[in-house]
């Protein structure tokens, strides 16, 4: 894969945007700002997906991450917002020693990963004997050969069709398991986020604990189904 022309320009723009937005996600003082920076990082990475020819994954990324997960994050932030963070009265990072140790670890990890890529990639290139410019020309020719859209200015890729075919042909069992996983996640999060009142009215509290809680809050006795 070798990008060229405008694709290369947009690659650098979106790559830098993704990295800076990621950095600001980690460093922002306000959690809502972190969430918004994470959204821009995810959108930039979706643009990188489009550049590498994975249009379907880019769409899924924007629909699921930005439209679903990040909205959930924003709701939870607003439910549990403590306010001390924005006012500056609370430290946002762990204490000094832990931060230093983890940053040293991260620097070592950066060095290691860059070393691995710098050693491994030239060998991969030598094995596949690809000339970057020839590969770029080949890619442009391949894009030109795609069918034109209705307006004649854009091209239609077969990416989504390939993913659909391969998903059901080679990964149908994992696909079903993933749906069960999502069902379990829905039930689990509903169970976890119930309040004590909801648990009492569903008759789902240990009787001894219930007696202790009723002693603190007599209102709870009225909610219990058995008392009626």
């Amino acid at each position: 894969m070798t990008l060229s022309g405008y694709e290369a320009l947009f690659f650098w723009i979106f790559a830098l945007a993704a990295i800076f937005a990621g950095l600001l996600t980690v460093m922002a003082r306000n959690a809502v700002h972190s969430a918004l920076f994470l959204i821009s990082s995810l959108v930039s990475v979706a643009a990188l997906f489009v550049l590498s020819g994975a249009e379907f994954i880019a769409g899924v990324q924007i629909l699921v991450y930005v439209g679903g997960v990040m909205v959930l994050f924003l709701f939870v932030i607003m439910l549990v917002n403590v306010g001390a963070e924005e006012k500056g009265s609370e430290e946002i990072f762990n204490n000094q020693r832990q931060v230093t140790a983890s940053l040293i670890f991260c620097l070592l990890l950066v060095g290691g990963v860059l070393y691995a890529v710098s050693q491994g990639f030239p060998a991969l290139q030598a094995k596949n004997k690809t000339d970057p410019l020839a590969a770029a020309a080949e890619q442009v020719a391949r894009d030109r050969s795609l069918a034109k859209g209705a307006t004649g200015t854009s091209r239609i890729t077969a990416d989504t069709e390939h993913i659909g075919n391969n998903l059901y042909r080679y990964a149908s069992l994992p696909f079903e398991i993933a749906s069960v996983l999502l069902l379990v996640a829905i039930i689990g999060s509903v169970m976890l986020a119930r309040t004590l009142r909801q648990e009492v009215s569903a008759d789902d509290v240990d009787p001894e604990t219930l007696q202790e809680e009723i002693a603190l809050d007599p209102e709870l006795a009225k909610l219990e189904p058995r008392s009626e």
């Binding site: 894969m1 070798t2 290369a8 650098w12 790559a15 993704a18 990295i19 990621g22 950095l23 996600t25 980690v26 972190s34 994470l38 990475v45 990188l48 590498s52 994975a54 994954i57 699921v64 991450y65 997960v69 994050f73 939870v76 549990v80 403590v82 963070e85 609370e90 430290e91 946002i92 990072f93 762990n94 931060v99 983890s102 991260c106 990890l109 060095g111 990963v113 860059l114 070393y115 890529v117 710098s118 050693q119 990639f121 030239p122 991969l124 970057p132 590969a135 990416d159 390939h162 993913i163 391969n166 998903l167 080679y170 993933a178 999502l182 996640a185 169970m191 976890l192 986020a193 309040t195």
Partner: protein, 135 residues
């Protein structure tokens, strides 16, 4: 130590060959698989740093999303690379990315449910104050 760093610098700035500037320009004008891998690695490291240093449990969750997204970027880049060079099933990387997104969504739902339950009981979202399991 020098043996470790010189290949990295030579790789990043492409020093060998005809003229340092033209080589660097050539490499920047034609980003290939290695550039995608470097971007993915940097996003991953930023996520790891966020998990290790932040105190707010919600920001830690967001950093985990960043890590999973960096892994997705690598999957997609390799999928595209194999589409051109290998004769293996090149769409496998994209299918794996779909499953990573599914697991990330499930993890976010459960994790945020736990955060809400925790906030109701302990009135805090600072991870250094949540030490029930510490002996």
């Amino acid at each position: 130590m020098l043996n470790f760093f010189i290949p990295i610098l030579a790789f990043l700035f492409q020093q060998e060959g005809q003229g340092r500037f033209t080589r660097t320009w050539e490499a920047a004008a034609h980003p290939d698989l290695s550039k995608f891998l470097v971007i993915g690695a940097l996003l991953f490291i930023i996520g790891v740093a966020g998990v290790l240093t932040r105190r707010n449990i919600i920001v830690i969750f967001m950093s985990i999303e960043l890590i999973l997204n960096a892994a997705n970027l690598n999957f997609i880049a390799f999928s595209r690379y194999l589409q051109e060079t290998g004769n293996v099933n090149a769409v496998a990387g994209q299918i794996f990315a779909v499953f990573v997104i599914v697991v990330a969504a499930a993890e976010a739902a459960i994790g945020l449910g736990i955060v809400i339950a925790l906030y109701r009981n302990k009135e805090t979202i600072w991870v250094d104050e949540i030490d029930l399991l510490k002996w």
